[in-house]
């Protein structure tokens, strides 16, 4: 009886933990320096389960670094990143790998293994992490490839794929183990409008079908606005604005306005910091010299 009660209590405890802490990713006061230069300064983010969240900002603002910190490829200088309640930087290699088995990541250009066919690429995580028989792996791989529309391309090598197709294969590989968290590093870069729409649609659909949570680093405003639940804007290592797509559209924040309207000059200056222009061209302000 005692044992039964204990079991029930621990079960309840598990249940409470699951429902109370419904943020899959929590980032608190995160700072990261690279070579003594601050890249991220005091980032706070709480990403609930089941959402698709975009992190936007100009090139080199530290958003890819943020993704690497979430995936545990980098360690923060200070602050913490928690994924599924576990502090990523405190994990040993074995624990980190256990966590990563529940994550999928899509790299900017797919990062497919060039010596393996499309089929073997998608089968790779299944073969490495499970002891499933080959017939079951075949079924699983074909299901994932069907989901991205490339079941017919299973025998092609990555060199024979277009950019958009490679990205879709990489997406199938990223979700091969049905991850709880999917990370996307610039999923739209270098794609034609059709592929771009396809990838955007897939990201949303896969997230909802798998019951996963997605974090997407991107600078494609219009595609993202249509499909994400929440947006963070990062500039110079801090979050300058955040909100749902509707809130962002209505925002009067000068940075958001510059970014969404693609204006050349604004809070993000057009010119890289430079010395005074007259001094640089050797002109003196002495009008007598010009005369």
């Amino acid at each position: 009886m005692q044992a039964y009660r204990l079991l029930l209590l621990s079960g309840l405890h598990q249940l409470r933990k699951f429902t109370v802490d419904d943020h899959l990713v929590s980032i608190e006061n995160l700072c990261f320096d690279y070579g003594g230069k601050p890249v991220l300064r005091g980032i706070d983010m709480h990403i609930p389960k089941g959402r698709v969240v975009a992190i936007m900002g100009g090139s080199g603002c530290g958003k890819t670094t943020l993704l690497r910190l979430i995936g545990g490829q980098l360690r923060p200088t200070s602050g913490q990143v928690k994924v599924a309640g576990e502090e990523v930087s405190a994990l040993g290699l074995a624990e980190l790998y256990a966590l990563r088995r529940r994550m999928g990541m899509l790299f900017q250009f797919g990062a497919l293994f060039t010596d393996l066919s499309v089929f073997d690429n998608v089968a790779f995580p299944l073969r490495e992490h499970t002891d499933l028989p080959e017939s079951m792996i075949r079924d699983l791989v074909l299901m994932k490839l069907q989901a991205v529309g490339l079941r017919g391309a299973r025998d092609l090598m990555p060199s024979a794929l277009s950019g958009g197709m490679a990205r879709r294969v990489a997406l199938a590989r990223a979700v091969a183990l049905d991850p709880a968290l999917i990370l996307y590093d610039e999923p739209f870069t270098g794609l034609d409008p059709i592929s771009l729409g396809v990838i955007g649609h897939l990201i949303r659909r896969l997230n909802d079908a798998l019951g996963a949570t997605s974090i997407m680093v991107t600078h494609d405003v219009h595609e993202s606005m249509q499909m994400v639940d929440y947006i963070y804007f990062i500039s110079a290592g801090t979050i300058v604005a955040e909100g749902t797509p509707d809130e962002i559209r209505a925002s009067r924040d000068p940075f958001v306005d510059q970014f969404v309207q693609a204006k050349a000059d604004g809070p993000v200056p057009y010119h890289f910091p430079a010395p005074n222009i007259a001094a640089d061209f050797g002109l003196t302000m002495d009008t007598g010299a010009l005369a």
């Binding site: 490829q73 790299f107 900017q108 060039t114 992490h129």
Partner: protein
């Protein structure tokens, strides 16, 4: 005077920087070597991974190894006969060809060829996998790139090298026989019997195999390390390949001297 002092200080600074850098890299390389050894367990139990690498670095190197071995043997036969017959001992041609190949030329030249054929390919492959984020992708899939990519290539090289060196020596001896016996006319029986009488299995053959094993470890380690440590750009990978070939060659020759001085000291 102060200008001279300044440039001298700059020189010292550069020297110190270079030295520290090199020592640091040597330390990093050594740690990497042990990491590869410690994380080899998974690949050693999955024989197919290593077999694939033996195919790529061993079997595909066979043509260059066999042809080079044959030509080295042909030249040894010609030069050896020419020199030996001055002393009236052309009958020792078999001994000379066999000993120089088994003790020195086989392991050393085969390792040099292996470094430029297979070592450079290993560095290029790992370097490009790094440049195209394949290693990072693997790491994010919770698959250790050192265990999955580096260790099989390392062991594939280590296993292939002694076989390649042995085949090189075999082809060389065949080449020496071809020139000496078939073309010049040294007595067939004397050629083989003098070789049989003077080549000691443990002392000559086994030491040669041991040498080629050490060279295999050195070349494979340099190749995988340079690939893994390369800068992920086209230029970085090309520099890494050059470093693999140059460092391997120097390591082989230096190690050969050290090994020879231990193995063949004081032997009449």
């Amino acid at each position: 005077m102060t200008r001279f002092l300044h440039s001298f200080m700059d020189f010292l600074r550069l020297l110190g920087h270079e030295t520290v850098n090199r020592v640091w890299r040597l330390g990093y390389g050594s740690r990497f070597f042990f990491a590869v050894l410690f994380r080899s367990g998974a690949s050693l139990t999955r024989g197919r991974l290593i077999l694939r690498e033996i195919w790529f670095s061993g079997v595909l190197s066979l043509i260059i190894i066999l042809i080079s071995g044959l030509f080295v043997g042909l030249v040894l036969g010609l030069q050896g006969y020419e020199i030996l017959q001055r002393f009236g001992s052309a009958g020792a041609l078999g001994t000379m060809v066999a000993l120089s190949l088994l003790r020195e030329l086989g392991p050393v030249v085969a390792a040099l060829l292996f470094a430029s054929r297979a070592g450079s390919a290993i560095t290029a492959e790992i370097g490009l996998m790094k440049a195209t984020e394949q290693l990072k992708a693997m790491d994010m899939m919770a698959v250790d790139p050192v265990a999955r990519v580096v260790a099989p290539r390392f062991w594939g090289g280590v296993i292939s090298m002694p076989f390649l060196a042995a085949l090189f020596s075999t082809m060389g001896i065949f080449g020496g026989w071809l020139i000496g016996v078939v073309f010049i006319g040294v007595d067939d029986g004397i050629f083989w019997s003098s070789m049989q009488a003077s080549v000691d299995f443990r002392h000559d053959v086994w030491n040669g195999i041991l040498k080629s094993f050490v060279f295999g470890v050195a070349v494979s380690q340099i190749a995988v390390f340079e690939g893994f440590d390369s800068e992920p750009t086209a230029e970085g990978v090309s520099r890494a390949i050059t470093r693999t070939v140059v460092t391997s060659a120097l390591a082989i020759l230096a190690l050969d001297f050290v090994l020879t001085s231990f193995m063949f000291r004081g032997i009449s």
